[in-house]
């Protein structure tokens, strides 16, 4: 479990590793699109725009260096999705990996679900460290022997070999989504999972690929009446009948699958009334929820919209219990951010292991942590300049007006091309993975 403090007043973060190209010229295929730790934290998976999945494995802690937790090294790389073409609609289907979700480990192999806009795949990642040798009809290199040349029989045996990690697609869940898939979530029953697109949510069984159940459908009878879309969905961590989905209107609906087969009618609706003083041209855009995550305890959930992070108590629908401003200084810049499309960026958020701290990304390669207990927040930066091993990250500050202090950065100097959309927190330790455009940074808590 994360340390007793867990909060930003106790924890100092150190640079650990950075993965990816140093080259400033970023190839579009290398842009990281999702980051996810597995349930033990030993494996860290990333997906990119090129449809590839890269899995890193944590090395066992070295007895020589007890201060340092194990490093993450490449464990497996495979091409999960390829670009496809829908001939009926004359549309190209991007191979970009939208989400990766790990299944809990049941045996020696690891399983994960990866999805692009249309198709979800179940991958089995297994290790092979021995191979059979001594076949009678085959040579060692695989060529078949002439049966007439076989004079004696032997029993093939397993011999050790160099570790090989294989990724093989075990299931392909296709043709169930008309619109772009934005979320997948594995149920706590470990048998089913949901997939959500802009207008529908489907329930799948992990073993069955040729059909799925539609459990939410918000498509209006007349598309002219469309007012909102689904932006994210997640199963409750403990209650296998409960899931939530967020909308572009800033609402979250909790549904109970026991109530009816089609969960169009929500059990709970979480919505905070809009502040009329903040009304602008872009009110609808900035209130759209880009991510929703249950706490590990299942008591709370967190939502991310463009400017803030909100923590909701599942027992109170009228307003969030906590609201944290991520980059309120951008409120006066919304017009420019609309022009350069940054206002449409979908930031994710994550909880730490004991739900005491939440983290989310921002621009200029900044990311923010909010300690719920101590009511403190910190802004840190993921950059190669702070990439000396075990160097402590210095808190950053954005000056919002007036005189800019030393070491502060002004709002106009922020680089909006450098954005941190995807972050992940190790389920047990204070290790975080932060994805910049094409690099993956791993930071660890400074251990004395």
């Amino acid at each position: 479990m994360a340390g007793p403090g867990g909060g930003s007043n106790d924890v100092q973060w150190c640079f650990s590793q950075v993965k990816g190209s140093i080259d400033d010229d970023v190839a579009e295929a290398d842009i990281i699109s999702t980051v996810e730790f597995n349930h033990s934290g030993e494996l860290l998976a990333t997906g990119d725009k090129g449809g590839r999945v890269v899995i890193f494995q944590q090395e066992p802690e070295s007895k020589n260096q007890p201060q340092c937790r194990g490093e993450y090294n490449v464990y497996s790389t495979f091409q999960s999705h390829e670009p496809e073409f829908d001939y009926l609609k004359s549309l190209e289907i991007e191979e970009k990996i939208n989400k990766i979700r790990w299944l809990p480990q049941k045996n020696a192999a690891q399983f994960l679900l990866s999805t692009n806009d249309k198709t979800i795949k179940l991958w089995k990642i297994s290790e092979r460290d021995k191979r059979p040798e001594g076949y009678n009809l085959k040579e060692e290199d695989g060529r078949y022997r002439d049966p007439n040349s076989v004079t004696a029989l032997r029993v093939p045996v397993f011999r050790p070999m160099d570790l090989m990690v294989e990724a093989s697609p075990r299931r392909v869940f296709a043709n169930a989504h008309t619109y772009h898939i934005n979320s997948i979530s594995v149920n706590s029953d470990y048998e089913t999972y949901l997939s959500a697109d802009d207008l529908r949510i489907n329930l799948w069984h992990l073993e069955i690929t040729d059909r799925s159940f539609n459990i939410v459908d918000i498509k209006p009878a007349n598309m002219e009446e469309l007012t909102e879309v689904i932006t994210a969905a997640e199963f409750h961590p403990n209650q296998c009948n409960t899931f939530v989905y967020s909308s572009s209107k800033g609402t979250i609906r909790m549904c109970d699958m026991r109530a009816s087969a089609l969960c169009d009618k929500h059990a709970k609706l979480f919505e905070e009334p809009e502040d009329p003083n903040n009304r602008s041209f872009f009110s609808e855009i900035i209130s759209s929820i880009s991510d929703v995550k249950f706490s590990h305890s299942g008591r709370y959930m967190m939502t991310r919209d463009y400017l803030s992070v909100k923590i909701w108590d599942l027992n109170m629908e009228t307003r969030p219990v906590e609201t944290y401003q991520v980059h309120e200084y951008l409120r006066s810049k919304l017009c420019s951010l609309y022009e350069n499309d940054c206002i449409f960026d979908k930031f994710e958020c994550c909880w730490n292991g004991n739900d005491s701290v939440v983290m989310t990304g921002s621009y200029n390669n900044f990311f923010r942590m909010f300690d719920r207990g101590y009511r403190q927040d910190v802004t840190l930066e993921a950059s190669r300049e702070n990439s000396k091993p075990r160097s402590v990250l210095k808190p950053r500050k954005v000056s919002t007006g007036g005189k800019r202090k030393k070491d502060e950065i002004s709002v106009d100097s922020l680089d909006f091309n450098k954005k941190i959309l995807h972050t992940a927190w190790h389920p047990l330790d204070n290790i975080i993975a932060v994805a910049t455009t094409n690099n993956l940074y791993i930071f660890q808590e400074k251990l004395n």
Binding site: D86, K89, M223, E224, T227, E228
Partner: protein
């Protein structure tokens, strides 16, 4: 309410930017993003509301100014003795054309000797759907005129019936491929509909040519009184001239606003109307544009 700091100019820019985004989304890899286009349509709607509001305020100010000026000119031109006789004659006509309950009230207000309130009254009575004066003793105030004008807001009236083509006889669309603005008619004229460019005095043009749209021209020709006809035509011509000055931007954006009247629905409803009404005249590329959006 949208923050009033955002003026009509910003609204105009936002409308242009938003339309360009929707246009560009056609060619984006992976197909049109429903979520993003929905959000862009909200910005379009918000910008349109501000833009129309500002436009009305501007037109009202212009018309107010011109009415005052023409009346002042009339006062200077007319012989004071002739003015009373003319008023009495026109009162009869106005009583007939003025809407129901407000007739006597309107008439009594018209009996006042000053030509200015009479002008206001007549103008107000001509507006279709105007509500009667509550207090007959008072002069009709400028705010009354404004409320008449605003209630029969032309664009929003059209937008109330996005799929009812009999009310909105004109559909103006922008071909995003060739940037040609086309107005499509079905030959049915409705009094309340403002999208009637012929009232500006323009002759019928080929659909491929650009048309102007008048926000303020809600008045029916049949209601005009002979003495005021020349005045009003002069006012209209001035309006047309005025709109000529920023014709390209303003009229194009005015036209486009009629498409996006009901937010996202405007995109699809116009497609339905176009195909239904005038398939020959709509350029093929326009269909490609709307088809792409409907594709998902």
């Amino acid at each position: 309410m949208i923050n009033t700091m955002e003026c009509a100019m910003d609204a105009q820019n936002l409308i242009s930017i938003s339309l360009m985004k929707i246009h560009n989304s056609r060619t984006q890899r992976g197909g049109i993003k429903l979520h993003k286009n929905l959000l862009v349509s909200y910005v379009l709607r918000n910008a349109r509301q501000v833009y129309i509001k500002e436009k009305y305020a501007e037109i009202y100010r212009m018309q107010q100014y011109e009415e005052v000026m023409t009346v002042c000119n009339e006062i200077q031109e007319l012989n004071p003795l002739d003015l009373d006789a003319d008023d009495r004659g026109e009162e009869e006509h106005e009583r007939a054309s003025c809407c129901g309950e407000g007739t006597s009230v309107c008439g009594s207000a018209c009996q006042r000797s000053a030509a200015q309130p009479a002008a206001h009254c007549r103008t107000a009575s001509v507006l279709p759907g105007c509500s009667p004066l509550e207090d007959g003793g008072k002069e009709p105030e400028p705010s009354y005129y404004r409320s008449c004008c605003m209630e029969t807001s032309p664009v929003s009236h059209c937008d109330q019936f996005p799929t009812n083509s009999t009310h909105c006889n004109k559909t103006t669309v922008l071909d995003l491929d060739t940037h040609i603005v086309t107005t499509v008619e079905n030959g049915y004229l409705h009094q309340d509909c403002c999208c009637d460019a012929s009232q500006c005095g323009q002759s019928a043009q080929s659909p491929a040519k650009k048309r102007k749209v008048e926000f303020g021209c809600c008045m029916s020709d049949a209601e005009e009184v002979s003495d005021f006809t020349a005045v009003r035509k002069r006012a209209k011509r001035e309006d047309c001239t005025y709109s000529n000055l920023d014709y390209t931007d303003t009229s194009n954006i005015s036209n486009l606003i009629s498409i996006f009247g009901s937010g996202f629905s405007g995109l699809l409803s116009r497609q339905a109307d176009l195909e239904h009404i005038c398939s020959k005249q709509a350029p093929a590329s326009l269909r490609a544009w709307t088809r792409a959006i409907v594709a998902f």
